[in-house]
Symmetry: C2
Subunit: 339 residues, 2 copies
C-alpha cells in the first residue's frame, strides 16, 4: 500500500500539486469548488499528510517533549495524563521520555527531541543535569515542572517544598513530638533538599533537632522506604514520629512498620508528603500533605500554550517566572499527641 501524496491527488484531478496543497490548507485565494474536489479526492484516495515533510519545510514540528523521572508516581502520571490530553486538543503530539533520575538518559531524550525539532519541552530535571542538557534546552522553549534547576533556566512551576514540608514539622511539634526522623528523596533533587530543609528548620526552632542519624535519603521507591524505615525504627533511640518525603517510599515504610509490629500512632506518628488516594484507606489512615497537582497542571498547560503561540525562534522568553505552589495538611489517624 503506497503512500498517497498531494502529487497523486493533483494528477488524479489534472491540476498542479500546489493547488492541492492550498486547497487542503484552506488557503484564502482558492475557489470553493476546487477545495471541495480536492478534499473528496484526498478522502477517497486515503491521503495522509507527511508530517516529516511539513516539519522540514516549516523548520519546526508539532511535537512537545515531556521528560519525567518516572511515570508510576501518581504525581507525575497525573501531569502526563493532563498534558497528553491538552496536547492532543491543539493538534500536538506528546513524546514521553523517562529519565529515571539519570543525567545520561535525560540528555539522550533532550537530544532526540532537538533532533525532532520539538516545539517545546516540559521537564522535571533529574537534579544533576549535564552541561550538554543545558545547551540543548537553551535552543528550545522550556518549562521546568515539579522540580527546578536554576542552571536550566529561571522559569518553573514548582511546589515550595520547604514551606509545605514545614507544615509537617509544625503539626508534630504541636503534638509534642521532639524526636522526629525523616525518610526522603536524594539531596541531588531540588525537592529532596528543600523538603528536608523545611522540616529541619522548623523542628530546630521548636527545639527538636533533626540529626543526620535520623535521616535517610534515597530513591523514591517502596523498597528504599522499607529498608530505611527498618534501620531508623530498629535503633534504641527510636523516634516518636516519622516524616516520609515521598508517597512511593511511604508504601515501603508502611510495610516495614507492619513487619516490626509497631502501633500507629501510639508508638509512632507518621506524616506522608502528598495525599495519594490510598492514604485514606490505609490502616491506620495516613496524615498527609495534599499538593495542588491539578492547579499546577492547569498553569503548566496555560504556560505551554503561551509558549506555542510565540515565535518558534524565541526560546524561553515567554514565562520568566518561578511559580510556587503550596500544599496543605490533611490530618488523619496516623498522627497523635505524644503520651
Amino acid at each position: 500500500m503506497p503512500m498517497i501524496t498531494i502529487k497523486n491527488i493533483a494528477d488524479a484531478l489534472g491540476m498542479a500539486h500546489t493547488t492541492v496543497s492550498r486547497a487542503l490548507n484552506d488557503h484564502p485565494h482558492t475557489s470553493a469548488e476546487t477545495k471541495q474536489r480536492v478534499r473528496s479526492m484526498a478522502e477517497s484516495l486515503g491521503y495522509v499528510p507527511n508530517l516529516g515533510a511539513r516539519t522540514m519545510r516549516n523548520g519546526a514540528s508539532r511535537i512537545i517533549g515531556l521528560i519525567l523521572p518516572d511515570i508510576q508516581n501518581e504525581f507525575f502520571s497525573a501531569v502526563a495524563m493532563a498534558l497528553a490530553d491538552r496536547c492532543a486538543e491543539v493538534g500536538y503530539q506528546l513524546v514521553l521520555g523517562t529519565s529515571q533520575d539519570s543525567p545520561e538518559r535525560e540528555v539522550h531524550h533532550l537530544r532526540m527531541l532537538r533532533e525532532a525539532r520539538a516545539r517545546a519541552v516540559l521537564i522535571a530535571p533529574c537534579g544533576r543535569s549535564s552541561e550538554q542538557a543545558r545547551q540543548l534546552l537553551a535552543g528550545m522553549s522550556t518549562i521546568q515542572l515539579l522540580r527546578h534547576d536554576p542552571k536550566l533556566g529561571a522559569s518553573g512551576i514548582v511546589i515550595d517544598d520547604a514551606v509545605t514540608m514545614s507544615l509537617a514539622a509544625e503539626h508534630l511539634l504541636q503534638l509534642g513530638h521532639r524526636t522526629v526522623a525523616y525518610i526522603g528523596s536524594a539531596a541531588t533533587l531540588s525537592t529532596g533538599l528543600a523538603r528536608r530543609q523545611g522540616l529541619h528548620d522548623v523542628l530546630l526552632k521548636g527545639g527538636a533537632a533533626l540529626p543526620e542519624r535520623r535521616v535517610r535519603l534515597g530513591q523514591t521507591l517502596p523498597e528504599f522506604g522499607y529498608q530505611a524505615a527498618k534501620e531508623l525504627l530498629a535503633t534504641k533511640s527510636c523516634p516518636t514520629a516519622l516524616v516520609v518525603g515521598s508517597s512511593r517510599q511511604l508504601l515501603g515504610v508502611m510495610r516495614a512498620v507492619r513487619d516490626l509490629g509497631l502501633k500507629i500512632p501510639s508508638q509512632l506518628s507518621i506524616v506522608g508528603y502528598g495525599d495519594t488516594e490510598w492514604f485514606a484507606l490505609a490502616a491506620p489512615s495516613v496524615t498527609g500533605i495534599a499538593l495542588p497537582i491539578q492547579e499546577m497542571v492547569e498553569l503548566t498547560a496555560q504556560d505551554l500554550f503561551t509558549a506555542l503561540s510565540e515565535e518558534p525562534g524565541t526560546a524561553d522568553s515567554f514565562s520568566p517566572l518561578l511559580h510556587q505552589f503550596y500544599g496543605h495538611l490533611v490530618v488523619r489517624e496516623s498522627t497523635a499527641a505524644l503520651s
Copy 2:
C-alpha cells in the same frame, strides 16, 4: 541560533555535503581521517541532525505510538514506563496518546501517528474502535495490549480475564457465599465483558446466580465505584460478597463501605481485580487477583523489537498470535467464610 546542517559542515571543511553524510553515518567507503575531521567539526559547530528530513528520505520515522485509555491506572502506567525505557534504549521515541475510552480520540491519535509515519503502534483499544481506526491501523505494525479487539487484528497480549476472574468466584463459593455482587468496567471493553462472564459462569455452576440487579458497569473511576457500591449495598437484599473489576473503582468502593459503616469481612467480603500496592495496606487489607504485568510488558517489548526488525512495509505480519496471561489469587483480610 540557526540550525547547523551537513552543508554547513561541508563548507567549513571544503568538502561535499554527501561526504559529510557518509562520514556521520559511518559509511564503509570513507577514510578514517575524513570521519574524524567531520565528526569533530560537527561537534564543535553543534550539529543536530534533522529527524524530519531523515524521515522523509527514509519513508519511516523512529516513532513508536502508544495509545492507552488512561495513564493513572497503575496497570497502564507500568506499561508506559517500561516501554518508554525500551524505546529509548533502541533509539526510538515514544509518542503517548490517551484515548479516555473515546473512539474519536483514539482515531485522532492514530491519524497523527500515521501522519508521523510511526514505525509501530501499541494500543489498548477503547472497545468501540471505528472503522477508520481499523484502516489506519492496517497500515502500521500493530500490537494490541491488555485489551483485544478482533476487528483490529488477530494478535494481542492480554489477560484471560474470564479464567482469571473465575478465581474470585471459586474463592467466594468456597467460603460459602451465594449472594455476590459485581462492579466493573463497561461491557464495551473486551475486559469488561470477559471479567463479568468469568465471574457469572463459575458462580452459576456453583449455584449462585449473578443477576443484573447485582451488577453495575461503568467508568473505571473511583467516583463510579463509590456510587455503584452505595446503590448495591443500600438494598435490602444486600449481597454478602462484592467483586470489583477495577482497582480504580475499588478505591471508591472502599470509601463507600466506610461511609456506610459496613464491617469487612464480617458483613461483606470484597475481592479486587489486580493487586495494587495499597491493597496490602488498606484497612482491612484487600484480597486481590495479582496480574503478571511485568511478564506481559516483557513480551510486548520483545514483540515490538521483532516488529521493528522486519521490513517497514510488512505490517502486522510479525506476531499473529494472541498471547494469554493468567492472574493468581492473593487472599487477605477482606474475604472470610460466611458465618
